[in-house]
């Protein structure tokens, strides 16, 4: 723990619980996937939980979130109910996107959670636009945009960096550097592997943080968010992390050594926090099992909720391609509106 935050025990236990919620939820998702309850692609966040949990705990409800297709953790940490997230993955109408999007397209307008974007780097310009809307409307809200290091190779990444700094927009870019863009290692896809250095060349504050350490992430995010709110300028966090599972459910992981995965697992965000809490006499086994039991019950309830969800009637297939018909705007010009 490099940066001593307000190491409040209750808060650390809460952060542990949030990370464990994501971990256990996704382990169950993998199981449900093999049972064919969840279909399509399933991108697990296991190993990277400290990032979403650390950052979300520094935000306000009015702030906007833009995430990627690996966003179950972000949704849960943001405050979407496990019920609505799992039901979405089941494709049922009680899912947060009415079951239309599935695992990759989790939306919740009430939480200002704007997806769920499955185009690598596609969310970055949108986040810049949301930040622009906030600035213009003086909402005092910031936009947080999560993306993987794979997005850094895309043109839209660089266009978004440039525009955010050029127009001085209140956006926090969070690069979740898990070292592999699908199966391609960082060194094989980037001319400069220090992503923060790349971002800083656009003229914004950009720092690297240990993304496996929830306290470090939270401390860095606190600082970033405070600066953005004060200056209305963008800020860049590169969270160095590792995904313990494959890219998606179809990944044989031929591109990396098992030993490497094991090494990273040993410094995983959950295990390290548990160790630290125990070493410092902040956590006893019974508390941990109580947390685990609460999560287990929450997951079980979410499964029941999802399984009871309705399928959307085929008659509604085309609903919401367009907004409901409005009064045809004819003869509205020149003061007749």
């Amino acid at each position: 723990m490099k940066q001593k935050l307000h190491l409040d025990r209750a808060h650390l236990l809460e952060q542990l619980k949030q990370m464990l919620r994501i971990r256990r939820f996704e382990e169950k998702c993998a199981e449900l996937y093999s049972q064919e309850k969840i279909r399509g692609f399933l991108h697990l966040y296991i190993g990277e939980e400290a990032i979403a949990v650390g950052i979300m705990s520094t935000l306000k409800t009015k702030d906007n979130i833009v995430a990627t297709y690996r966003e179950h953790g972000h949704a849960l940490a943001r405050g979407l109910s496990m019920n609505s997230v799992l039901a979405e993955m089941y494709g049922r109408t009680n899912g947060c996107s009415r079951g239309r999007g599935g695992s990759m397209h989790i939306f919740d307008k009430s939480q200002n959670f704007y997806g769920g974007n499955a185009i690598v780097a596609g969310g970055l310009p949108i986040a810049v636009g949301l930040a622009m809307a906030n600035k213009y409307q003086q909402n005092q809200a910031i936009t947080v945009c999560f993306f993987g290091e794979g997005a850094v190779a895309e043109g839209e990444f660089h266009e978004a960096m440039n525009l955010a700094v050029l127009w001085q927009l209140p956006v926090l870019f969070v690069c979740e550097n898990n070292r592999y863009a699908m199966g391609t290692a960082l060194a094989l896809s980037e001319s400069e592997t220090n992503i923060a250095k790349k971002a800083s060349s656009y003229g914004m504050t950009a720092v690297q943080v240990d993304g496996m350490n929830v306290v470090d992430v939270e401390a860095a995010s606190n600082k970033a968010v405070e600066q953005i709110r004060k200056t209305n300028q963008p800020y860049f966090l590169e969270c160095q992390s590792y995904r313990f599972r494959g890219h998606s459910s179809f990944d044989g992981q031929l591109y990396r050594d098992k030993a490497e995965v094991k090494l990273w697992q040993e410094k995983g965000p959950v295990i390290r926090l548990i160790q630290w809490l125990k070493e410092n006499n902040h956590l006893v086994e019974t508390e941990l099992s109580q947390i685990e039991n609460e999560i287990k019950a929450e997951i079980q309830a979410a499964i029941t909720f999802a399984e009871q969800g309705e399928w959307e009637p085929i008659a509604d297939l085309s609903k919401d391609v367009y907004s409901p018909a409005i009064e045809a705007p004819h003869n509205v010009s020149q003061g007749e509106q």
């Binding site: 999007g101 185009i119 310009p125 809307a133 919401d320 705007p329």
Partner: protein, 327 residues
């Protein structure tokens, strides 16, 4: 009702200006729309009058600023995004197709993207193979988008306001050959934006067209009058959703249809309309549908080749004469 004569460019500008005055959430954003006055001069003078918060010059990054438009629309603004030409819009196709068009349906109806994207299109200025195309149909293919093609000065004046009133993403295609032409502009729009309009009544053959080809169809109809062929000219106006009711009513009246489309024939909107007629008015036809489209080449630079590639009035006249004798 008073009317005034404006160039197509001035009519577009008047529409933008009204939007800026009517709604403070509206801003115009694009490459060189501000200090330069717009690549085609459409927004000339607006920067001076409305300032850099409402008229925003962007760097050259179509995916970036169109995506910013999507985000700003989600965040409660009403952006008008200008993309210099349809060719450049391909760089922003990800944001238009993967984001703007999908977000409402994919989010289960929670979000909508009230975004207007304007762009220049069409050939005739000898701008060669990367600035001259008619790709309205790329976008008319996409559920979630609405696609407008203002062919008249009055539509140039009013369609933007109609598009901004729509809660979903609307693309407006402005044909470059119309910009310098003068025409009548009234205080009112001709019809709701999704309606096709019969621009000239006729009884023998329907000329179905849009955008830069409307004037050609009108000229052809006039020539046909001299040889006692009464051509009806239908201006599609909205390419998605298509006003099939109006175009089918015309075909059922004249029993003959010629579609004039500046796009390439293969996979064109002309093909789509032809299929609609086949499916829904086949027994009303007295002759097979004809299509006049652009020759399938990248638009070449020299004028004689460029013009040879494009639909021309003489072709429309010849096709109409031909369709009248076909049995």
């Amino acid at each position: 009702m008073t009317t005034q004569t404006l160039s197509y460019r001035e009519a577009l500008r008047a529409g933008i200006e009204q939007a800026l005055v009517d709604d403070e959430r509206v801003f115009l954003m694009g490459e060189d729309v501000g200090r330069y006055g717009g690549c085609y001069g459409v927004s000339k003078g607006l920067f001076e009058r409305y300032g850099d918060k409402r008229i925003i010059d962007t760097p050259i990054c179509e995916a970036g600023f169109v995506g910013v438009g999507v985000g700003a629309a989600l965040g409660g603004m009403r952006p008008i995004i200008e993309v210099m030409t349809v060719n450049f819009s391909l760089l922003a196709m990800d944001q238009i197709v993967n984001s703007a068009a999908t977000l409402r349906h994919m989010s289960g109806g929670q979000l909508n993207v009230p975004l207007v994207i304007r762009m220049a299109c069409g050939a005739g200025l000898q701008l060669a193979a990367q600035h001259s195309h008619s790709w309205e149909n790329f976008y008319a293919h996409i559920p979630g988008l609405k696609v407008l093609s203002p062919a008249t000065h009055n539509d140039a004046r009013h369609m933007l306001i109609q598009a901004l009133a729509d809660p979903d993403p609307v693309l407006i295609f402005e044909h470059v050959m119309l910009l310098n032409t003068n025409g009548e502009v009234s205080e009112q729009s001709d019809a709701a934006m999704e309606k096709a309009i019969v621009r000239k009544q006729g009884s023998d053959v329907s000329l179905l067209t849009y955008g830069g080809s409307l004037a050609k169809a009108m000229a052809a109809a006039e020539q046909l009058q001299a040889v006692n062929i009464s051509a009806e000219v239908v201006d599609l106006r909205c390419l998605r959703p298509l006003d099939t009711k109006t175009l089918l009513a015309s075909v059922k009246k004249t029993h003959r249809a010629i579609i004039i489309d500046e796009a390439w024939l293969t996979g064109s909107l002309a093909g789509e309309i032809s299929a609609i007629i086949m499916e829904q008015a086949f027994w009303q036809l007295d002759a097979p549908v004809k299509r006049i489209a652009t020759v399938e080449v990248p638009i070449p630079y020299p004028s004689h080749l460029e013009q040879a590639a494009l639909p021309q009035v003489e072709q429309i006249v010849a096709a109409a004469k031909d369709i009248m004798v076909a049995h």
